[in-house]
């Protein structure tokens, strides 16, 4: 039914339909849309002649030249180039630091094409630029990091190293009309195998040492507490008993007799032999006190 409908329009207005189609094709071959995210290089017979929507740092979006652009059909061709900040990832690689430590590094660079004409002449397409930059990033990074010690790779000095790498890469990248905005290390790891295993071993050993130290310290502290308690107790006893050492001797002897001879746990185990002259039996004799 739809076919019939289209057919009928076609049959009825043949010249008009042809005119409309020709007009659309004509307009499309002259007018093209360049979005905000792209720059377009017009290439006339293989030679770049002008650029639409070229990146300028000061231009705000909406006033950059994006939108409808015109070109001469057939003679001129548009090469579209990304205008945004692009990324190139470096493949993971091992770097040897000055102190002969291996470290595995993952890095990325962020760049932008600022000279589309040069880029079209040197690399051709946006993808090719990334491919060209990757090995340069690798070699600049290895060179720069290889000058540093393992420790400085880990910490604050990274900032300066990254700046040098960015500058090094930027210099090379200008050949392709590219500005390098930033280079960053995503990961810096110990390689699998011996370096990683020895790091684990070192960590374990350190923890085990810590554990023994903690136990030793705990025992020492406990001993100190016990000794102090003994000293305190000793002083309490001395203070009390020193008031009358003679009475203390008597009193303590009495306590001791009870514990030794009148212990409820083993009563009747001893046989006491008493002389009638003993102090206890003094009254046995029935005499008046002297």
């Amino acid at each position: 039914m739809n076919d019939n409908f289209a057919q009928r329009i076609w049959e009825d207005n043949k010249p008009a339909v042809i005119a409309v189609i020709v007009a659309i094709v004509g307009v499309l071959s002259v007018v093209t849309v360049v979005p905000e995210t792209e720059q377009a290089v017009v290439v006339r017979f293989g030679e770049p002649v002008r650029v639409f929507n070229r990146f300028r740092p000061s231009a705000d979006f909406g006033s950059t030249g994006a939108g409808l652009v015109f070109r001469i059909p057939i003679a001129e061709r548009l090469v579209r180039i990304d205008k945004r900040v692009l990324s190139v990832d470096m493949e993971r690689q091992q770097v040897l630091s000055t102190d002969q430590q291996r470290i595995e590094v993952d890095a990325y660079a962020r760049f932008r094409i600022i000279d589309p004409v040069r880029m079209v002449r040197s690399a051709g397409t946006t993808e090719r630029v990334g491919e060209q930059l990757q090995p340069i990033l690798s070699s600049v990074l290895r060179q720069e990091l290889g000058k540093r010690t393992f420790q400085s790779l880990l910490t604050a000095e990274r900032g300066q190293a990254m700046k040098n790498i960015r500058q090094g890469l930027d210099q090379e990248a200008r050949e392709y009309g590219v500005q390098v905005i930033d280079v960053r290390i995503k990961r810096a790891d110990l390689p699998d195998g011996t370096p990683l295993e020895s790091a684990f071993a070192r960590m374990s050993a350190a923890r085990e040492q810590e554990a023994s130290t903690i136990i030793a310290q705990g025992q020492r502290n406990a001993q100190i507490i016990r000794a102090e308690a003994q000293a305190t107790a000793s002083k309490i006893y001395a203070d009390a008993f020193n008031k009358d050492p003679v009475f203390y001797d008597f009193y303590r002897a009495m306590q001791s007799y009870v514990v030794t001879f009148a212990n409820p746990k083993n009563t009747g185990q001893s046989t006491m032999m008493l002389s009638p002259d003993s102090d206890y039996l003094r009254q046995f004799k029935g005499k008046a006190n002297p």
Binding site: V33, V34, E36, T37, F61, G62, A66, G67, L68, D82, K83, V85, L86, S87, L154, T155, R158, I181, D182, R184, I185, A199, F200, M203, S204, A205, R207, E208, E210, A211, S212, I214, G218, N221, A222, Q223, R226, E228, A229, Q230, T232, A233, S234, I236, A240, F241, F247, F250, Y251, M254, Y257, A262, G268, S270, M272, M273, L274, P276, D279, Y280
Partner: protein
């Protein structure tokens, strides 16, 4: 026939000129690809497609990136060359839709990569204990957030980092045993200490008790020394002698034989079933 064409044209006009933007959203209007304006929540009118087109994006909702995705181990080097297993969460949203739309080729991926670089740089600045400890964690989170924001601002990404949260900062699985030994040692040491303290309390309390008892008795003794002394003596002797056998040797020079049967009586009885 013209009626149908007209209706189609009308629907097309209505659909491509009115745009609903939700309360959390904003829209970017482009005229033939060129940025024209940003539209706020509500209903907006634009020129019909293909002249103007609108991309509506949720800008206020917080996006959460969990790194690493899943439960894998992510080891990072600390300043003392130890390794720590980190997983963290980055919360961010779009604070400038125009920049977010046009500035970076892949803003979402960029946020993740910047987070990773910032986290590693921050962890590499602190020793292991700080990376794992509670107090150091807040500082690291703040550092990572600041670093990320600085880098993203330099890229003009139009992204606002709301916060970074470290979900996990543990020792690597391979050395977790050794770390547990430390915990066990700490508990042991603590127990040792508690025991010693309890013992110390007992010893001092005993001393105080004995001293107090002595003081009381001594107080009485002071009031009537001779009587008290004798009373204590007799009381003690009573208890001692009442519980034991007594032999009184009547006169000096008389040899006394121990009453052996009596001693035998006291000895523990021989086991009767011994022959079995």
């Amino acid at each position: 026939m013209p009626l149908i064409v007209g209706a189609i044209a009308l629907v097309w006009l209505a659909l491509s000129t009115t745009h609903m933007v939700g309360p959390k959203e904003q829209g970017i209007v482009t005229t033939f690809g060129k940025y024209s304006r940003t539209i706020a929540p509500g209903v907006s009118l634009t020129a019909p497609w293909p002249i103007e087109s609108v991309a509506v994006v949720d800008v206020t909702s917080i996006k959460r990136d969990s790194i690493p995705e899943g439960e894998g181990e992510k080891l990072m080097l600390t300043s003392d060359r130890n390794l720590v297993d980190i997983s963290y969460l980055v919360r961010w949203n779009i604070n400038n839709l125009k920049l977010y739309s046009f500035q970076l080729a892949d803003p979402d991926q960029t946020v993740k990569e910047v987070a990773e670089a910032a986290m590693r740089a921050s962890i590499a600045e602190v020793p292991l204990t700080e990376a794992m400890g509670g107090a150091g964690r807040a500082t690291i989170e703040q550092n990572v957030r600041n670093r990320m924001q600085a880098v993203l601002d330099a890229y003009r990404a139009g992204v606002l980092i709301q916060g970074v949260e470290i979900k996990k900062a543990d020792p690597p699985a391979k050395v977790i045993d050794a770390f547990q030994k430390v915990t066990v040692a700490q508990q042991d040491a603590q127990r040792e200490l508690t025991n010693a303290q309890a013992w110390a309390l007992q010893v001092t309390a005993q001393a105080q008790g004995a001293a107090a008892e002595f003081d009381k008795v001594y107080g009485q003794y002071k009031l009537a020394p001779e009587v008290t002394r004798r009373r204590l003596y007799y009381e003690t002797m009573e208890r001692v002698l009442a519980n034991n056998d007594k032999v009184i040797i009547a006169a000096p020079g008389v040899t006394t034989y121990l009453p052996l049967p009596q001693i035998a009586k006291k000895a523990p009885p021989a086991t009767e079933g011994g022959t079995q």
